[in-house]
């Protein structure tokens, strides 16, 4: 297993009690009836350290806040409270050149290669724009860099002067990767990078990502719902439920022995390739509650088969259990079951 290349112990990126709330628009009748403002708590107090060179997988059901978290880190949303530290410095209030410098070093890659590339720009124009805006190269060096980047993501030579629609999904995703790499970032945020691709093409893009990461020493946040891929790619994995981390730990440990009942259910629900391991009953009943009304106490207690009276009252904190961290009152008891 390739470990993070740098042995440094200072995290590249630290989230401190990071939260974001979106206010739901009130209709006139709501205002007249003086109904309280409804608030979606998408991310609720996440504390997280990301080490240089590591891949952190982020998994959870849709609506759990994993994409919002990715967008917060990439600076596309402003947190309601809490802080994001990059190399020890807060980046939340950054403006001007320093904001731009951060934006260059943390690059986001999106799920849908069809909508995240400008259909009217050739690949060369797309890459050139990014390189010029951030003044990465000048003059003739720009075009040399474009060719270099396309070579890096293994696109054929003539690709630079084509438009996005002339490529297949997998190739378009490579263009997205090339665009992100054109700014020589330190950290990549990959939000469902391969989920729109065919299974046989997914592996190509994942291989490319791992290879580039090792070659360039990048830190990667890999947000995805395909648990098998996350397990394969990540050094560490964080499981998110209703905007909070319920379990975090080294990938192999977490996948082979999840401690939180939600992680257990989520992993068991993922289809395995073993027809002998079929279950008659679903692994996890119920659905993700609305983030408009997060249950009190442990947010998972409404779906948890082990929930006790304490879970209804008291929100469990993320604490060390086994080799990782788990937010569950009963982790020790359930973990071994």
């Amino acid at each position: 297993m390739t470990m993070p290349t740098s042995a440094s112990t200072t995290p590249l990126l630290s989230l401190r009690a990071l939260s974001i709330q979106f206010e739901k628009r009130r209709s006139l009748s709501d205002t007249l009836a003086r109904r309280p403002q409804q608030v979606v708590s998408a991310v609720n107090g996440i504390d997280l350290d990301v080490m240089p060179g590591e891949t952190l997988g982020i998994v959870g059901e849709s609506g759990c806040g994993k994409s919002t978290l990715a967008r917060l880190i990439a600076g596309l949303h402003r947190p309601t409270s809490g802080d994001i530290l990059f190399e020890g410095e807060s980046v939340v209030g950054l403006k001007g050149t320093r904001r731009r410098a951060y934006n260059r070093r943390v690059q986001m890659m999106f799920q849908d290669p069809y909508t995240s590339l400008n259909p009217r720009m050739t690949v060369r124009d797309t890459l050139r724009e990014a390189i010029t805006v951030h003044r990465m190269r000048e003059g003739a060096a720009i075009d040399r860099r474009v060719d270099e980047l396309l070579d890096l993501v293994r696109l054929p030579e003539g690709a630079a002067d084509k438009f996005p629609h002339e490529f297949s999904g997998g190739q378009r995703q490579r263009i997205g990767i090339a665009r992100a790499l054109s700014l020589e970032p330190t950290c990549l945020v990959a939000d469902e990078l391969v989920s729109a691709l065919d299974v046989s093409v997914q592996a190509q893009v994942v291989n490319l990502l791992i290879e580039l990461q090792d070659e360039l020493g990048l830190t990667v946040l890999f947000v995805a719902h395909d648990l098998r891929l996350v397990r394969h790619v990540s050094h560490r994995v964080a499981v998110i439920y209703l905007g909070a981390i319920v379990e975090i730990g080294r990938s192999e440990a977490l996948f082979s022995k999840p401690m939180h009942p939600y992680s257990k259910g989520l992993l068991a629900a993922a289809p395995s390739l073993d027809p002998g391991a079929r279950r008659r009953a679903p692994a996890l009943s119920g659905e993700l509650p609305s983030p408009l009304a997060i249950p009190p106490g442990c947010p998972f207690h409404v779906r948890c088969p082990h929930a006790t009276e304490r879970c209804h009252r008291e929100k469990p904190a993320l604490r060390p259990v086994g080799s990782g961290m788990t937010a569950c009152h009963l982790a020790e008891r359930i973990g071994d079951a």
Partner: protein, 337 residues
């Protein structure tokens, strides 16, 4: 569980579906033959554009008039291909029902779900209004919607994605179909909800003796749900067999590659097996084997000479000229598990 033990309800013979001009047709489904037994769940696996959805739609006759269907679709001995709309309508929705990937776009947003279920009961049963309502409640209950009685007057947008898919299944079940065609019914859902829906389909098939054709791109879904599996590529079948056999010991280079590209039992962050290239366009299929352009063991004859689907051992059909080379190329890994 092969078809031999169960009465064959659907027998598809040399199905060919084409679109576009007569002289330059786009052949979406090419010479596809398979059988489905009573109460059996058959998985139809393939990538986007492999023709799996068109195969389903051809069975129901919902690709006409733009598509042209040839071959035989024997439903309990009766050929559906030459039937006119009026006679087909007596079978469609009554004996053969279908559910789709996007429940939100298949449900009418302006009608309550109760009305949409009863619509189907009016069309296919002789029940009176009171009995229809009782049956609608019974159906919602059967598919696991909590508080079924109170939800009849709700509109589709008041249900979550998983619940909407349950409503779709309830509508499909209204007429006690003998065959359910499910077109990627869980692709838009989270793994936990997918797991719930698949378990539901499985138990309905078992309890009601209903045959199911489940179209999916996910081998994991097949492993968890289906009795037999048919792998499609470029509009043709390349391998058919029981799920256990195909997953443990795939023979066709495409099925082998597809299974190998899914990360399992490989060291983390090592390169995954990937099938080179991308799925072919319908207007660029070779006259011979559709997979030949991406196949690691293709010989000189493969692009020109079409392999036929032939028995390979008991209860297995494979279409490949180079079965032994494929086994040698992919090594004994699959067999060792």
């Amino acid at each position: 569980m092969g078809t031999t033990e169960k009465a064959v309800v659907l027998d598809v013979r040399h199905l060919r579906t084409e679109f576009g001009p007569q002289d330059r047709p786009l052949v979406a489904v090419d010479d596809v033959s398979f059988q489905v037994g009573q109460g059996e769940i058959l998985g139809l696996v393939g990538e986007s554009g492999s023709g799996k959805s068109i195969t389903l739609r051809s069975i129901l006759g919902i690709i006409r008039p733009r598509g042209r269907v040839a071959g035989e679709i024997l439903w309990n001995g009766q050929d559906l291909v030459p039937l006119d709309e009026a006679r087909l309508r007596r079978i469609r929705g009554r004996e053969i029902a279908m559910i789709f990937q996007e429940p939100m776009s298949s449900l009418n947003p302006l009608l309550t779900v109760g009305l949409q279920i009863q619509e189907n009961l009016v069309a296919h049963t002789n029940l009176d209004a009171k009995a229809r309502k009782a049956r609608a409640i019974e159906l919602l209950d059967l598919v696991g919607i909590p508080g079924a009685r109170n939800r009849l007057d709700d509109f589709p947008h008041e249900f979550s994605g998983g619940m909407r898919q349950r409503v779709m299944i309830a509508i499909a079940l209204a007429s006690n179909p003998k065959l359910l065609l499910a077109d990627e019914p869980t692709t838009a859902l989270d793994v936990t909800i997918q797991d719930q829906i698949l378990r539901l389909i499985q138990s309905l098939s078992r309890d009601l003796g209903m045959a199911v054709i489940l179209v999916t791109h996910d081998m994991g879904v097949v492993a968890e749900t289906c009795d037999r599996v048919a792998v499609m590529y470029g509009g043709r079948l390349c391998e058919v067999g029981t799920t256990t056999d195909v997953i443990a010991d795939a023979r066709h280079p495409y099925s082998l590659g597809l299974l190998r590209s899914i990360p399992r039992d490989v060291a983390p962050r090592t390169p995954l097996y990937s099938i080179p290239g991308a799925p072919p366009a319908l207007n660029a299929l070779p006259p011979g084997c559709a997979f030949s352009a991406r196949c690691p063991v293709a010989g000189r004859e493969c692009p020109d000479l079409r392999p036929t689907l032939e028995a390979s051992g008991s209860s297995r059909l494979v279409a490949c000229h180079h079965l032994q080379d494929a086994q040698a190329h992919f090594g004994p890994r699959e067999a060792a598990q």
